[in-house]
Symmetry: C2
């Protein structure tokens, strides 16, 4: 067997540069007290040997892996996938790598298992895309010294720092827009009833109706899918009183749009429809969808910043109350909304 050629190691660099391995280490870690000339000599040696430091060895002694863990749920969907992107983007800029552990469902076991796998791999911190409290709670089980942040979804938990969108405010934006167009009231198609995000949107919607003194129609909950929007949309289409519909997300809105169309009710002339999220192609629905945009990638970036801050200041100071960042969504008006028919 051909002997496997050994990879270059710190000592090789040291030898070539004519210094001790410790000096090489100092150059690598940008220690101030290294003579300029020595530094360049070492750097040249590293270059010519194509040296890469062994992170495992470094991790072993510093107890810092420069890797962050991400717990994700339904990461194939646009929202979570974008958060993931934002997180990775910011992590790379900060010199971290991101490892992912997706959970198949939101049961306690799954979440604990994910935390476990990540902590085995010695991640320095964890960001959880946490639409439901089960995830946040699972985070609390993380071994000491592991910093966690939850992003998206759940309302405030005092246990863990969070970054989230103000869903209620978004819902108010949507509802008020419709009311201002002159609609008597606004119907709502809810998401899954046990998701805090869905609940918050309901609350914002209801709140706006109350303030305007409008009738509050009943809400139905089910899921986040277009299929659900289609199914429930067929019912709404039968009721001639319905002139404005606010959907818990864009996918539901897509289904509602189709149901209304098939029932012969024109959007926006007969019925106005608003979504939530602003997915990439919502502007090309029939008609283009008025919706509430949330910047998922930005959410991800913010959560990473928060995690890093959290890690930095718990290093030096005593623990403090977890921070909560709330990002405001924004209304995007397109062709699916108009004044009600006279």
């Amino acid at each position: 067997m051909p002997s496997k050629k050994r990879v270059t190691v710190m000592r090789d660099v040291a030898k070539l540069a004519g210094v001790s391995h410790q000096t090489v280490s100092r150059v690598l870690n940008e220690h101030p007290n290294v003579k300029q000339e020595t530094r360049t000599r070492v750097l040249e040696a590293m270059q010519s040997l194509n040296y890469r430091r062994n992170l495992a060895a470094r991790t072993l002694v510093t107890r810092q892996s420069h890797t962050l863990g991400l717990i994700g749920f339904e990461t194939t969907l646009f929202g979570p996938a974008s958060m993931l992107y934002g997180i990775e983007d910011a992590a790379r800029a900060a010199g971290y790598l991101v490892s992912i552990a997706t959970v198949r469902n939101l049961e306690r076991r799954e979440v604990l298992d994910a935390v476990d796998r990540l902590s085995q791999h010695a991640v320095d911190g964890i960001i959880a895309i946490a639409p439901k409290p089960a995830v946040t709670n699972g985070l609390l089980q993380a071994p000491g010294g592991l910093y966690c942040v939850a992003v998206g979804g759940a309302g405030e938990t005092d246990a863990v720092p969070t970054v989230r969108v103000d869903n209620a405010a978004g819902a108010r934006l949507a509802t008020q827009h419709l009311l201002e167009l002159g609609h008597r009231t606004v119907h709502h198609v809810g998401g899954p009833h046990d998701w805090p995000e869905a609940q918050e949107r309901v609350m914002g919607w209801r709140d706006s109706l109350y303030r305007a003194g409008a009738v509050v129609p009943p809400v139905a909950f089910d899921s986040w899918t277009a299929e659900w929007g289609y199914r429930h949309g067929q019912e709404l289409a039968r009721d001639p009183e319905v002139t404005a519909v606010f959907c818990a997300n864009d996918r539901i809105a897509l289904g509602v749009l189709r149901a209304l169309h098939e029932a012969g009710r024109s959007v926006p002339h007969d019925v106005s429809v608003v979504g939530f999220d602003d997915m990439p192609d919502s502007g090309y629905f029939l008609p283009p969808l008025t919706t509430v945009r949330q910047d998922f990638a930005e959410l991800g970036r913010r959560s990473l910043t928060l995690l890093l801050e959290h890690m930095a200041d718990t290093d030096t100071d005593e623990p403090e109350a977890p921070a909560h960042i709330v990002v405001s969504p924004e209304l995007v008006v397109r062709g699916s909304t108009a004044p009600p028919p006279r």
Copy 2:
């Protein structure tokens, strides 16, 4: 300052169980020659001390991190996000964690940088979501002993094992379906011209037309977006000869659908439209979209399996020709296709 409590280490377990640390290691690694009684004693000790093995130390000596790297491009889109999901799913089952490095563009530098970051972190192998050859080529720069697999996109490269969908076959499926419905010919809206996937779809489409002796209309390339579909759809809508349109993906199809609708041309009565991908909500477009489904998650899983095999058999045998797995897509017929108007 309160002294940081030391974490339990192999020696602690050994002491409690009354054995040497090596025996603990053997239990952990399921070495056969450990007496049953000793094994249980050790396991109990691990349990009661809540011991977790330190992966960094293990990695240092075994040179295996049990981590796989993923190079991803445009991971917020459904396709890549789903592959990522499939990969992570299979990786977890095989006892691996997945670290991601997204690239912002497909330039050589970006790809090399991603490979570099991953190899610094000592991943055991890399899977690249590789729609363009630049990525595959970048992979070749990976340091020796790093196994790579490319998934999705590019045609066969002999350098690296690949897993991909048979885009040409998918395009033929779509085109033939339209021809069989009685359309004289089929128009095509291409993706970006420098993407092999887009090119393969063109070839499949053109191939079907040739065989059927149909006229081959000119193709326009641009991007994968609904905006492009809308823009080009407006042109197609003006041409009364156009009765069937095959789009390079579902998003483009969405834009085409809108353009046709706005031009007063009914789908499917006046014009039939077919997409490619089968995104989650394509079945709720107006009308529901006939499309070519590719199972992205399965693609991801297959690529992981391939990578693992590759890693295993290069361990034992001599290198062999890289394997290429090609997955067949499948036609999903929905309401956007019908016989041409008489």
